[in-house]
Symmetry: C2
Subunit: 278 residues, 2 copies
């Protein structure tokens, strides 16, 4: 990416929406919509669209606390519930809240074009997650949607995240640092790139922040995965942060009060994030 | 993986089927089913299930030349055609031919369980492709299906494949060699692992063969991507090979003779593979 582009005021519609919501609603929270039929309250299960009914209640209860919602596509595909994913996305966008569709696709260029059509055109996602293992031509079809957001996996929050991502390269960088640097220098011509960085790894988050400046990071790991919000906020400061929590909010209660309980946990998470924001 | 497991006669049902077909039909060809509505002949477009009608004609014309069929899921998802993907898989399996569902999924453990359910239970795939960037816990849910095949991306055939995969590690191995070694030593406890290795890279294929012994490789790159069959067969010898061709077979003719043309190209590809087999 050239200096002139780096300095460009141009920003994707997705990142503008996120920035607006952060300003007006004071929230950096991203609510993950990972519906699991075995954990959805009985009240929703009675419906012929249980996943959508559950999501709708969660969205109604938390949308003014969310920068965006993040449906994870496997939770719908495993239940043959593409229609309920579409309904969920339409419902969120009807409230003028952006949708980050978490799909972590990665395939060769010609196939990546098909995946980009699936995510951006079929479902109308405002942003997506993608996997960098196949390199630049596998990312380009997503990056070419200049008005959307593209979050590239950098350092993931799971235990196996270190298996490849923390390998030390001959260059003196780890693989995840190399991905961060390449995202900054080569993949961000359209100013629409973000990175996925596990909130559970504050030291690594700090290194990636130092490499990527103001770039927005999607930070999973708060809530069920146990990341420390104070440490995360300290390490991630200096640029955009979308802090993702899914299960801790969705399953705060298994009773009829699940939506109110979800709002309470979402509000507590927002408060904790605000406490350590500067 | 321990030595005792390495020597175990236990093989996944998928790899047994492939070996049987190779023995009885003398074919290592894997026919990729990447239907593209803009290239499907008019005769199929008249149907309300154009993708399935196209696939059915291709399957009827080539099934006795195919070790397995490999539908690439993005080509169905981008067209809201999950139902036609399911019909295609059922139709292939009705002919007792195994299905390798090319999806290249990669996500943290709890989500990988959902993807594994999508691919193995919803669609009933006999084998899948997966992405190693998120490490072991992200692969385990697929590997736990001991009767299926799991092809891990190692060195992909696309131009950007070298961006990360060819990075030199401090250990003296490239990233793709490290993935090959880890697949051999740590991820193959159930004897159900294969690797995806681009046929367009014979030198790298040879290195991976030297690391992985008899392990089966899925080799895309023959046909439209222009890999040299003689060089590939020389470099890949010593272990299992599934040689994948999609577009060169599917779109051999755009006329009414598309199925016969597909068979002709499939037969030519099989013949060329046989010529250089030993």
């Amino acid at each position: 990416m050239s200096e002139s582009l780096k300095e460009s005021p141009r920003t994707s519609r997705f990142f503008e929406q996120i920035a607006d919501r952060q300003r007006t609603l004071n929230t950096r929270l991203c609510v993950g919509l990972d519906p699991d039929l075995s954990r959805i309250p009985d009240a929703c299960k009675a419906s012929d669209r249980p996943i959508f009914e559950f999501n709708k209640a969660i969205i109604d209860a938390t949308h003014d606390l969310a920068s965006c919602f993040k449906p994870q596509i496997a939770h719908y595909a495993s239940e043959t519930a593409e229609d309920q994913l579409q309904e969920t996305i339409d419902y969120i966008q009807g409230k003028e809240v952006p949708v980050l569709l978490d799909a972590k696709r990665g395939d060769v260029g010609s196939t990546a074009e098909m995946y980009a059509r699936e995510l951006f055109e079929r479902y109308g996602a405002d942003a997506v997650t993608v996997n960098p293992y196949l390199g630049e031509d596998a990312l380009k079809p997503y990056l070419d949607y200049a008005d959307r957001g593209v979050f590239i996996l950098c350092r993931t929050s799971n235990p196996g995240g270190s298996d490849l991502q923390n390998l030390m390269l001959e260059s003196g960088l780890t693989l995840y640092e190399h991905v961060a640097k390449t995202a900054r220098d080569k993949w961000n011509d359209n100013n629409n790139v973000g990175l996925v960085v596990g909130a559970t790894r504050p030291e690594e988050l700090r290194k990636i922040r130092n490499i990527c400046g103001k770039m927005t990071f999607l930070l999973p790991g708060v809530g069920a995965q146990g990341a420390d919000v104070k440490e995360m906020m300290g390490a991630g400061q200096g640029g955009g942060m979308l802090i993702s929590s899914s299960r801790a909010i969705l399953y705060a209660s298994s009773g009829e009060d699940f939506a109110e309980a979800a709002r309470r946990v979402a509000q507590e998470t927002c408060n904790e994030i605000s406490r350590y924001s500067n």
